[in-house]
């Protein structure tokens, strides 16, 4: 009887965490996507490309560069409990993991937005040669309870045009 009770408590804690992860995590994600969309629309005028400026001159763009400097944007986004369990189940069934596609999408777009905001605050007119680098400080490979997070750094060369 006692064992049965503790099993029941464990199960209800698990389901409680799952529900918190699903609902609160869903709200957090929705809010984040909303802010990303708003800022992306606002910063649409600012060009970010992954070509070197030499290429732009080759295709006939008139580019008089005054100054250049290095900019980067960094973000760490953690998954919620519900996504973690989904990711764990995906180890058995395989297939497409929509929950994590949105997580990566959020992180990448946020990193690029931060790069843009930083470049604008330092007076740049465009960013060239954008690169993305994935980091890993929060990885625990050998445990089921691994807290996975997406850590992305976007970096590039900001140009000030005459």
């Amino acid at each position: 009887m006692n064992e049965y009770n503790s099993l029941l408590i464990n199960l209800s804690v698990f389901i409680g965490l799952l529900l918190i992860g699903y609902f609160v995590g869903g709200i957090v994600e929705k809010r984040h996507f909303k802010s990303i969309l708003e800022r992306e629309e606002k910063l649409l005028y600012f060009p970010v490309i992954n070509l070197a400026p030499r290429r732009l001159v080759e295709i006939g763009e008139d580019l008089q560069i005054e100054n250049c400097f290095f900019v980067s944007g960094l973000v760490v986004i953690g998954e919620d409990y519900f996504k973690r369990i989904l990711g764990f189940l995906a180890n058995f069934f395989g297939g497409r993991l929509l929950s994590h596609e949105s997580l990566l999408d959020r992180a990448r777009r946020e990193a690029i937005l931060r790069l843009k905001e930083k470049a604008i605050s330092q007076g740049a007119d465009m960013v060239v040669n954008l690169q993305l680098q994935y980091l890993s400080i929060n990885k625990e490979t050998d445990s089921q309870n691994a807290n996975n997070s997406v850590e992305i750094m976007a970096y590039g060369t900001a140009l000030k045009v005459k």
Binding site: I20, G78, E79, Q133, I137, S149
Partner: protein, 104 residues
């Protein structure tokens, strides 16, 4: 100091090059930040503590690279790349490297 990740400094001429310069730093997670992060892992979202930690690490790696370039007497670093390795559980290395140049 000009730092770019393209392979030249726009509108400036290369006078001399000094080869590869690099900077690296290994950072471990802070237990207080880790506790907050584990709470954050319940509901997802940005983990600000880790973002700050990695930003500090990135800045330190770049600073070390710049110091090395200044030792050579360079005033620009081009083709800057980042590389990372996870050396131990909860610790990561950020390595940044590029070519030191003198431009004018």
């Amino acid at each position: 100091m000009f730092i770019t990740n393209i392979d030249y400094v726009p509108s400036l001429k290369i006078i001399e090059h000094y080869g590869l310069v690099s900077g690296s730093t290994v950072r471990a997670k802070h237990i207080g930040k880790d506790f907050l992060a584990s709470l954050k892992n319940l509901v997802g979202g940005e983990i600000k503590g880790y973002t700050e930690l990695l930003e500090e690490a990135r800045d330190e790696a770049i600073d070390r690279m710049i110091l090395q370039a200044e030792d050579f007497g360079a005033n620009a670093i081009v083709n800057v790349r980042f590389s990372t390795a996870s050396v131990a559980q909860g610790a990561a290395e950020i390595y940044v490297y590029g070519t030191a140049l003198k431009v004018s």
